[in-house]
Symmetry: C2
Subunit: 340 residues, 2 copies
């Protein structure tokens, strides 16, 4: 495997920190590492694998000597993502900026690794909610096509970064103490509340977060799936997302078959033992890399449909782990520098 | 209107307290009032409308001189509900004990008041989640039949009574302080978590709470509606439920029509102005008697379907208010003592 210089853009945020953890855990080889962030965080020193790194401000020049850059997301993706890729850096970007562009593969390595073959140095990491949905559905879809999905989400505050998680914690304390609160990371109070809006409103009064389910499931898994995002909802949970999923298949799929197919997927942990109160929950899925699936039941109305409940860690598999897995897959398939 | 002696059974719980508030707010006439509860709460003194009432332990004898009894729910419903009705007391019961029995009307006054005509002294108050769903759907169903509903819920801790609300608050403090927690009202930690189980598991690994959506929507609104309860989920919210609803109609229904029909329903407050970030939320629906409806959008896949987001106060319209409205309706229709 070629050695490469690596940069993390947005290294001081929640996803950036997790990117570093994943690179360490998964023993990603690199010959040099550069930590980039906004001017506000420049100068911070981060110790990684026993070595101190000083965070530098991201500029166009930052990427000159960088072979691979993992962008955590945020304004830096818009400002520097495509430019860095055009300059020859392989960019894996966690923002939504480039996801829907025709020349950018949108990849969940367990589902569509083959899309890496046509990358042009810029690869998009999907939205957390879509990664959760497709990693749970794809093991079933492989055997019996998913025709229709109706999904509602229960999304953690980590989706709004460190600020989101900190706001939940600080605001919860304030509400419990009867103090005034002042929402910043979220439009309204998130402590002891749920918010039926994530990201801005787009067409037909859907939120962009809701439409990501549609656009991204089509691009990653199958453009024929009819996806209904009933609601993408922020809940007062720190870092794990959940989704309630109705899935209709081409042919009847029994609960037993679904459990078997999901059990065969190395990235899925079945937690489906209602008699013993075993089902996915944020407190048990947090800080792991698995997609947890449970509460699998035959639908009451449509005999070709199942209902299920799924959960995973939003910062890990929902963002950082998936990005690092894309890098691993590029290395494994020798596609990292295919455009050189 | 006949005067009647009134009893509240479970007067010291969350629903019992709210029943008293509703009786006061709605100026329900009664010639005498008896407050009943379990032995543990007997002896407590509650001041109501300027008068002190001593809470008595509920026994079979308690109902001898009681014309109307409002049961807040819990074990007293099982032990005394039907017996009191057989003894001549008109019982309005908030528990699930009698809801599915053929001789017991299950009533949401805005939807099926006509079912009060055949009561046999025992009338059931529906489950909170169903009341929310049918009060939002019925204004549409009247004009254009709902054929299919796919619903996921975001249910407040008040559904588990005072203990549930107190556990959320106390446990949140403990988690924030890094202390050990010990779940009691809920199976697992509810602070900063969501639980995909409410009530026990019944057929096909659905929870009873999920099946209530099916059984009760059929009994109250229309037995032809295909109801899929994808998940009934407890969220760390104090007292207002929310639901994400996909609803398919017999004929196409536009968003404009839906808004018009919902706007004509006196019990509905439309909160549907995404441009100004107006949509239903627990913090705004709490401690009101309205059903809030918003985020109304055409479905992406099925042109006869709409998606929406609804919320209401679980203790008020989800329990106490609905029960008191049943009493009002019985009085208005002169059906209170029809079996005498």
């Amino acid at each position: 495997m070629k050695e490469f210089s690596l940069a993390i853009v947005g290294a001081t945020g929640a996803v950036g920190e997790q990117l570093l953890k994943c690179i360490d855990e998964r023993k990603i080889p690199f010959k040099s590492l550069k930590l980039l962030a906004s001017a506000r965080s420049a100068g911070k020193v981060i110790n990684f694998q026993g070595k101190d790194y000083t965070v530098e401000e991201t500029t166009e020049e930052s990427f000159r000597d960088v072979d691979v850059a993992l962008f955590a997301g945020g304004p830096a993706s818009v400002a520097f993502g495509r430019k860095a890729a055009e300059g020859g850096t392989v960019v894996i970007d966690n923002s939504s900026t480039y996801r829907y562009e025709d020349d950018v593969p949108l990849v969940v390595p367990e589902v569509n690794p083959q899309d890496l073959e046509w990358h042009h140095n810029l690869i998009a990491n999907p939205n957390c909610s879509t990664i959760l949905l497709v990693t749970a559905l794809y093991p079933l879809h492989k055997h019996n096509k998913v025709k229709r999905v109706v999904v509602s989400s229960y999304q953690a505050c980590s989706g709004a970064g460190k600020e989101g998680m900190e706001e939940l914690i600080e605001q919860s304390k304030q509400v419990l103490n009867g103090e005034e609160i002042e929402p910043k990371a979220f439009k309204y109070q998130i402590a002891f509340n749920v918010l039926p809006q994530i990201d801005k409103f787009v067409e037909d009064d859907y939120t962009k977060e809701e439409m990501k389910f549609v656009w991204e499931t089509h691009k990653i898994m199958d453009k024929e799936v009819g996806v209904t995002p009933v609601a993408a909802v922020r809940v007062p949970v720190i870092r794990s997302h959940c989704e309630a999923v109705y899935a209709e298949f081409e042919n009847k799929m029994t609960v037993e078959e679904a459990r078997q197919y999901l059990g065969e997927a190395s990235w899925v942990k079945l937690q489906d033992d209602p008699a013993n109160f075993v089902y996915p929950m944020p407190i048990t899925s947090s800080d792991t890399d698995f997609t947890y699936v449970g509460r699998i039941r035959p639908d009451i109305v449509n005999e070709k449909a199942l209902n299920m409940w799924i959960s995973f860690d939003q910062i890990r598999k929902g963002a950082a782990t998936n990005a690092v897995q894309i890098l691993e897959e590029l290395i494994k398939r020798d596609l990292l520098f295919k455009n050189r």
